[in-house]
């Protein structure tokens, strides 16, 4: 049983720190035949940035392909010959940014970073002349000004861990009684099936509540993710979510009768939609319509949205009515369906 308490702790710490979509420490290679003031300052600027590490200068442009094949560099910067000279004469300077497109996300991000750095240099060259008709944006980063990845992922990881662990715990507990035949004994006893089932779920509810407490404490004190909004409502919605996940486990175990099958469904089969469709890593808004619709029936999605609002955005209960209603009705639905199934078995 101890593993049930330690598991969430290790996973939260591991992923709170490790999972980030930021792109850092990319190895940079440069082909620079002109070696003049402008190319040198652009290279220096890229190098000074935390996103890039200058790995090497390429002498022969034909070897660029090989560099990517070996997978060592993420970005190759290619200057033409006599870059600065041409820039002064014609006002045009062409720079090629070659990235490994096999990972489109990283490729686009790297290109954007490098482009911004080059443009910043361009602005500096401009500095001598003031430009008329300038609209300058004043950018305010709400909720997460330091752009920390943990702010985005901690609610997601909470949603994933609690859903899967709760569903696995209950589904296996009942399937185990069925497999061993002790379930029949319980069901023929004078106790009502609903009492039998609820008494099965209560200990797991307590274990999950302890897990919830450790997760929140860890988020605040170890991962530095604050609870900016209402702690009370965070706990309430989490308890509803735990109840929902336990009910889902009950539902699974009421349909199947083998432990292995119950575990494979609640662990392995649930795992993938919860990671992919919950909005934990990939934003749901960017998905095609069909998948967005599918994502709506993944309970983790609503929980994660609510937790982001409560923990990160610092809102109160008025912002999460929708999530509260959806999660409660899902929980009710699961528990009613599983009770129906159990009664059926008794006849």
């Amino acid at each position: 049983m101890i593993i049930l308490l330690i598991l969430p702790v290790i996973m939260l710490i591991l992923f709170g720190f490790a999972i980030t979509t930021e792109v850092k420490n990319t190895k940079l290679a440069v082909y620079d035949p002109s070696k003049d003031v402008a190319t040198r300052s652009i290279i220096n600027r890229l190098q000074a940035n935390e996103y890039f590490i200058l790995k090497k200068f390429i002498i022969n442009p034909n070897t660029i392909e090989d560099e990517f094949q070996k997978g060592e560099v993420g970005l190759v910067l290619v200057f033409p010959e006599r870059f600065y000279e041409n820039l002064l004469h014609t006002g045009e300077g062409q720079i090629q940014l070659i990235t490994d497109g096999s990972d489109p996300n990283t490729a686009i991000t790297l290109t954007n970073y490098a482009t911004n750095i080059v443009f910043a240099y361009q602005q500096e060259l401009y500095k001598t002349t003031t430009i008329p008709y300038q609209i300058s944006p004043e950018i305010k980063l709400l909720y997460n000004p330091r752009l920390k990845g943990a702010y985005n992922f901690v609610p997601g990881i909470m949603g994933m861990i609690m859903m899967l662990i709760c569903a696995m715990m209950t589904s296996v507990a009942i399937a185990r009684e069925k497999e061993k035949g002790t379930m029949e004994l319980l069901l023929v006893s004078p106790m009502k099936p609903i009492i039998v089932i609820i008494s099965k779920a209560v200990p797991y509810f307590f274990i999950s509540a302890v897990n919830l407490a450790t997760i929140i404490i860890l988020s605040v004190y170890v991962l530095d993710v604050p609870v900016a909004g209402s702690l009370l409502w965070l706990i309430i919605i989490s308890l509803i979510y735990i109840f929902l996940s336990l009910a889902l486990g009950l539902l699974i175990s009421s349909i199947v009768s083998l432990q292995i099958v119950a575990l494979l469904i609640s662990g392995a089969v649930l795992l993938i939609p919860v990671i992919l469709l919950s909005g934990m890593i990939f934003p749901v808004e960017s998905m095609p319509a069909l998948l967005q619709w599918l994502a709506n029936i993944v309970p983790a999605r609503w929980y994660i949205m609510a937790v982001r609002k409560l923990m990160i955005k610092g809102l109160d209960v008025t912002a999460i009515y929708k999530e509260l209603i959806i999660l409660s009705s899902m929980a009710l639905f699961f528990i009613i369906v599983s009770l129906k199934k159990f009664k059926h078995r008794l006849e």
């Binding site: 049930l4 996973m11 591991l14 999972i19 979509t21 930021e22 990517f68 070996k70 997978g71 006002g91 045009e92 300077g93 062409q94 720079i95 940014l97 070659i98 490994d100 497109g101 096999s102 990972d103 489109p104 996300n105 490729a107 686009i108 991000t109 080059v118 060259l125 008329p132 609209i135 300058s136 944006p137 950018i139 980063l141 709400l142 909720y143 997460n144 000004p145 752009l147 920390k148 990845g149 985005n152 696995m168 296996v172 185990r176 497999e179 199947v256 432990q259 292995i260 099958v261 575990l263 662990g267 392995a268 795992l271 992919l276 990939f282 934003p283 960017s286 998948l291 994502a295 609002k309």
Partner: protein
């Protein structure tokens, strides 16, 4: 000879279970069919709340330009910051663009004006990228105004032209990147969970006792557990190849044989790992929770969804122990870059090492007597 019967027994046990054959065939197909489109970081449809205090031709022209850029969807138009912010709080908008009341006057008289952008950065990538796009549009707009008002006689601009080039995947198609990796995930889930539950299931059902009283050697016992998963791995892999080809029009740029070789070593190593856990676990539940923990760790740290290079040093170190990582690297290289076995000798050897290590461990840790 004994081995043949043992393997036959394993297959019978798998087929007799109503659920397992379905899971082996249907599950990977369904996942691969639907989910590559979900694994998409592309930022589009950024919802914008517009707060136009200026109500001038200049500001409406700007809004028009933003709306027609293709990145933004205007979901909210309001007249005070409070209600704009509320729409961000409720996830109805991602960014607020606030145009101050003196916008036109400042632009015409002072020749410089400000606008305020407030971006929701709970998801840092989305908020950051969104405000960068918006700044880009503002830049375009101001140079448009400039070219209209400033005579061409002025000093020529210095212009940098950036030419991005994306190797191996010039159109930046996401399925191309995700499908090979999801194949690995499918292999990992099926050839990892099933063996982890196998031996311990026999323990709980008591059938292991019968096995223990036979003269079967430890080595052949483990081998007989391993070979069926190897076979199942091939079924999963072939199904995945088929979906990738039919649905995503994706065939490996390199030799498909390279994938088979590396993947078969991967399946051996990962199933071996599952068997080790199964040997140590006392109940099915225990085995599942252990495997579940390692499975999630291996998946999330393998670089499947987020790049390994961006992880902190200690996490990069842990990622060396994820067998999934090596197969994902190989899969993506063969599919996209057409790499050959000799270029992939490091992942291959790493997986071979894992396979030998875990399977020897599985043989050693299997005890016929209960202590």
């Amino acid at each position: 000879m004994m081995l043949r019967y043992l393997i036959e027994k394993e297959f019978k046990q798998i087929i007799r279970n109503k659920f397992l054959p379905k899971m082996i065939v249907v599950f990977p197909l369904a996942i691969l069919f639907f989910l590559p489109y979900a694994a998409n970081f592309e930022i589009k449809n950024i919802n914008l709340s517009i707060l136009d205090n200026s109500h001038s031709p200049y500001s409406s022209r700007l809004i028009q330009k933003v709306a027609s850029s293709g990145y933004f969807k205007i979901t909210n138009v309001s007249d005070n910051y409070g209600s704009s912010l509320r729409s961000v709080e409720l996830d109805e908008a991602d960014i607020v663009l606030e145009i101050p009341s003196g916008f036109e006057k400042d632009l015409v008289r002072e020749k410089t004006a400000r606008v305020m952008i407030s971006a929701n950065t709970v998801n840092g990538t989305k908020g950051g990228l969104g405000s960068a796009y918006l700044s880009g549009i503002l830049n375009d707009y101001s140079s448009e105004i400039r070219s209209r008002w400033v005579a061409a006689s002025k000093k020529q601009d210095l212009n940098f032209e950036i030419v991005p080039q994306y190797r191996f995947n010039p159109n930046l198609r996401y399925p191309v990147f995700m499908v090979p990796a999801l194949m690995v995930m499918m292999l990992g889930v099926i050839c990892g969970f099933l063996p982890a539950l196998n031996i311990v299931n026999e323990k709980e059902n008591g059938t292991i006792e019968q096995m223990n009283v036979t003269p079967v050697k430890r080595f052949s016992f483990i081998l007989s557990k391993l070979i069926p998963y190897w076979f199942i791995g091939f079924i999963v892999l072939n199904n995945c190849f088929l979906v990738a080809w039919l649905v995503y029009d994706l065939t490996p740029a390199g030799d498909i044989l390279t994938i088979y070789i590396i993947a078969s070593v991967f399946v051996l190593s990962y199933s071996g790992f599952g068997l080790v856990l199964s040997n140590y676990a006392k109940t099915i539940q225990q085995a599942m929770f252990m495997m579940f923990f390692f499975q999630i760790t291996f998946i999330l740290i393998s670089g499947l969804y987020t790049p390994v290079n961006s992880m902190p040093q200690w996490a990069q170190f842990i990622s060396h122990f994820s067998p999934l990582k090596y197969l994902i690297i190989s899969m993506r290289s063969v599919y996209l870059k057409g790499s050959s076995l000799s270029e992939l000798h490091i992942p291959f050897l790493a997986l071979l090492g894992f396979a030998l290590f875990f399977n020897s461990w599985a043989v050693i840790s299997y005890r016929k007597k209960n202590n």
